[in-house]
């Protein structure tokens, strides 16, 4: 057997969180990330196509309506589950990008209209760059590490897989001064996933009440932001915002670890 390069020996004492690795670690070119309007094209919208693509979208993220005699198409990135069916049905209207959908502080910022120009797409920051900024901000605002309590309020566990990944030796979020704690009483941030199910409603509220001020709530994923594919039904609340106040929305189904880190970057701003 070939002698192994010590840097690739799984039991070796190298640093797996090699900066060079992480600086390159952006999403794969075919990653289904942010869904956006396809490059603006001057032609007016075809109402039939709009209605058709509206039908395709399971979480009902796409809506079209007539405003002042003009047809308007909106996309709610908070609902979007990145399935890519809209791109398949209407490639002239939508495209799936490989960068992740950006977290925002206001629910309304997740809804984009085709008539308005697409915001220029800021180049995606690598995990390492995001982490460095986060770490600086935490030190400046808190002067200590940031404590997070994760609460599953009815998710499919996809978001849990990604939140847990933040703690693996590759993302290793603790080196940026972010620490997952076991009790809401020790937390600055509640990272909430899931639809806000009816059966979790009181538990989520009590967890929120148990968290000392100042506290920040981050809604992780389409479900927590809006209900996602599970929508607003007898068993769900249409997003955790209907149960506790939300400070940051992280779109995605599930959001990849970099997106979560980006969400935390915004969350720290809200600690006052």
């Amino acid at each position: 057997m070939k002698k192994k390069d010590p840097h690739h020996d799984i039991l070796g004492d190298h640093v797996e969180t090699d900066k060079r690795v992480l600086d390159r670690a952006r999403s794969a070119p075919n990653f289904r990330g942010d869904v956006a309007f396809a490059k603006a094209d001057a032609r007016p919208l075809d109402p039939d196509l709009c209605r058709q693509v509206e039908e395709v979208c399971a979480p009902r993220a796409i809506a079209s309506r007539e405003v002042d005699g003009r047809f308007q198409l909106t996309l709610d990135k908070g609902r979007c589950i990145m399935c890519g069916l809209c791109e398949q049905a209407a490639p002239t209207l939508f495209e799936v990008q490989s960068g992740f959908a950006r977290p925002v502080k206001r629910r309304a910022d997740l809804v984009v209209t085709r008539q308005s120009d697409n915001a220029p797409y800021a180049p995606e920051l690598s995990h390492e760059e995001l982490g460095k900024r986060l770490s600086e901000k935490i030190t400046k605002i808190l002067g200590r590490s940031l404590a997070i309590r994760e609460v599953d309020a009815g998710s499919c566990n996809g978001c849990e897989v990604e939140v847990a990944a933040l703690n693996n030796a590759i993302y290793d979020i603790e080196r940026f001064g972010v620490h997952f704690v076991a009790s809401p009483r020790h937390a600055d941030v509640l990272l909430v996933t899931g639809v806000g199910s009816r059966n979790m409603e009181s538990a989520l509220r009590r967890t929120y009440d148990a968290t000392p001020d100042p506290k920040v709530v981050v809604a992780v994923g389409a479900c927590a932001s809006t209900g996602g594919i599970f929508r607003d039904t007898y068993a769900t609340s249409g997003g955790i915002g209907n149960i506790v106040p939300v400070d940051v929305y992280v779109p995605g189904c599930p959001p990849r670890p970099e997106a979560l880190l980006h969400g935390l970057l915004l969350a720290v701003d809200r600690i006052r």
Binding site: A58, N168, A169, A235
Partner: protein, 562 residues
């Protein structure tokens, strides 16, 4: 497999049909076989359910796969119950006992005879049916609500047709949920959850302990109940596919494969061979990354952070591979009705082979390290034991069952899709290895260590299977056959099944009257069948052992709660 085979009938079906007819004769309305391997037995009276089920269980050696209730009052004038039993051991048959339950007059709720005391595995299904349909299982000793918690009114049933999906039901007076109380000197109770200390899903555990020893554990789940089955009745068939991927995010491929299979059976189409192979490859990728995660979790929970960190590196590498191959770290979007949405061209194939082979080599080194560490092994050995009889009675599935000596695996017992032509455990194909395997199964003690070893073995097998399939990918590039969603015959129904990394998942669909809709979508994941195991497994262990006994069973809350 040709298209014709879907329509024809399994050769063993006729034999079972005549056995059933002989035993029950006039008490049956009809016996017929459909979807190749589903033998449907219609009982004239619901009172015959217990006897029929016992017969299928003991004489036909059927294993309870699921119990399906559907509200067909508007169509046939009654609720319909279907008890599906799987017959494995080289037979690949399902026997489905069907009976009607009339609505009755408004004063008395509809009732059906419980089989919970005869087949304990049926207990939870019956409670679920009571909550969701309002049919009372007469004789089921547990009268507490299950799916809908105490603030849900007692007379509202979400899966009845008259209930509208978006109804916001006002909170009822808080009903008391009573846990079993263990009394005596020195016994105390520890309530845990639903919000836990780790990054995991919500559930409530009520321990009764005598000092450190657990004398009783009761689980209370369904905190993540999202109304999946009701919601499916409001979506189009291709949208339900997206929903099926999100039943339990980490078993997306298994659940969506089972759903696709059910719809494809209803439509009478067979996906192209290459698509079925890609489904199988992705299902095994899913198994590998999840088993790696579970083994890492076990290592964490016994306090061996070094091993956990190494295994989590491998899990992350797998998830990156998933992303590069399918565009999703959790393998969402692999399946499409009638085939798959991702191809495996030769450069991706090479990438997969190269990556998993390196991962396997690293994995073997980590496993060797763990096995040589007595502080890890001593913790695992003899902890959280589930004996083979208990496993059989509770109807355990997947890794949990195989670790207790039950040799069951849907991929082999009910070969589906690509698994019809894949050797499940490539190194068991010689007589000597088969004997060795039998000895191995007999030696499995059902403790955490056995589940550890089963997972290790499955990671190795899955990697070998992926290699095998990728060498042999069908050269016909076709990935999809059209599924005529708009023109499916209303009320046609079929079972779909798959082996997830947790065990068998069973999905049943019935086509709706509206074009491109479902009348009923019943899901039963392995977690629903396996959750009861935890209560038995931790008895007489200490409280500190609970986390890794739980981890070793790797149960999904979301998959259970729907």
């Amino acid at each position: 497999m040709t298209n014709g085979e879907v329509a024809s009938v399994h050769s063993g079906a006729a034999n079972r049909e005549s056995m059933l007819l002989e035993a029950f004769g006039k008490r049956l309305v009809s016996v017929h076989t459909m979807n190749w391997n589903e033998v449907h037995v219609h009982a004239r009276s619901k009172e015959d359910i217990p006897e029929l089920c016992l017969y299928v269980r003991h004489e036909l050696k059927g294993k309870l796969a699921t119990i399906i209730c559907s509200d067909e009052r508007r169509v046939t004038g009654a609720f319909v119950l279907r008890y599906a039993f799987g017959i494995g051991g080289g037979e690949d048959l399902f026997v489905i006992v069907t009976a009607r339950v009339e609505q009755g007059d408004s004063a008395s709720p509809p009732v059906f005879p419980s089989i919970a005391l005869l087949l304990p595995a049926a207990t939870l299904y019956e409670r679920e049916i009571k909550d969701m349909f309002g049919l009372i299982p007469e004789g089921n000793p547990d009268k507490r609500p299950l799916t809908l918690h105490e603030r849900w009114p007692e007379d509202v049933f979400p899966l009845r047709k008259e209930f509208e999906l978006r109804t916001k039901v006002a909170n009822a007076q808080n009903r008391d949920y009573r846990f079993l109380k263990v009394e005596g000197e020195g016994v105390s109770e520890i309530p845990v959850g639903p919000v836990h200390a780790g990054i995991i899903e919500p559930g409530h555990f009520r321990f009764s302990v005598l000092g450190e020893i657990i004398v009783n554990l009761e689980t209370r789940l369904f905190y993540t109940h999202r109304g999946v089955e009701k919601l499916a009745e409001d979506l189009r068939l291709d949208q339900v596919l997206l929903l099926s991927e999100r039943i339990s995010g980490d078993e997306a491929v298994a659940n969506s494969s089972a759903y696709c299979q059910a719809v494809e059976k209803v439509a009478g189409v067979q996906p192209p061979p290459r698509a079925l192979q890609i489904r199988a490859v992705c299902a095994e990728l899913e198994r590998v990354y999840n088993h790696l995660g579970t083994l890492a979790g076990l290592s964490t929970d016994v306090g061996f952070a070094y091993g956990a960190a190494r295994l989590n590196i491998l899990k992350e590498r797998m998830m990156r591979l998933n992303e590069q191959v399918t565009g999703s770290r959790l393998l969402f979007g692999v399946n499409r009705l009638g085939g798959v949405g991702v191809d495996m061209p030769s450069e991706k194939s090479r990438l997969v082979k190269g990556t998993i082979d390196t991962i396997l080599a690293d994995f073997n080194r980590i496993v060797k390290l763990l096995r040589n560490d007595s502080s890890v092994m001593d913790r695992l050995r003899g902890t959280g034991t589930i004996g083979p009889n208990d496993a059989e009675e509770m109807g355990l599935l997947g890794v949990a069952a195989r670790s207790s000596g039950l040799d069951i695996d849907t991929r082999r017992d009910h070969p589906y899709g690509g698994y019809r032509s894949i050797t499940i455990a490539p190194h068991y194909d010689t007589p000597r290895h088969i004997t060795e395997h039998e000895v191995e199964m007999a030696n499995r003690r059902g403790d955490v260590l056995a589940r550890f070893e089963t997972r290790v073995e499955e990671v190795v097998n899955s990697v070998n299977m992926i290699d095998e399939v990728l060498w042999d990918l069908d050269s016909d590039p076709e990935l999809l056959v059209p599924v005529p969603r708009e023109t499916l015959k209303p009320f046609r129904h079929a079972l779909g099944y798959a082996e997830s990394h947790r065990g068998q998942t069973v999905h049943w669909v019935m086509v709706g009257e509206e074009p491109d809709s479902l009348f009923r979508y019943k899901v039963r994941t392995a977690s629903f069948a396996n959750w009861s195991a935890i209560e038995a497994a931790v008895l007489n262990d200490i409280v500190a052992d609970f986390p890794f006994v739980n981890k070793s069973l790797d149960l999904s809350y979301a998959g259970n709660d729907l």
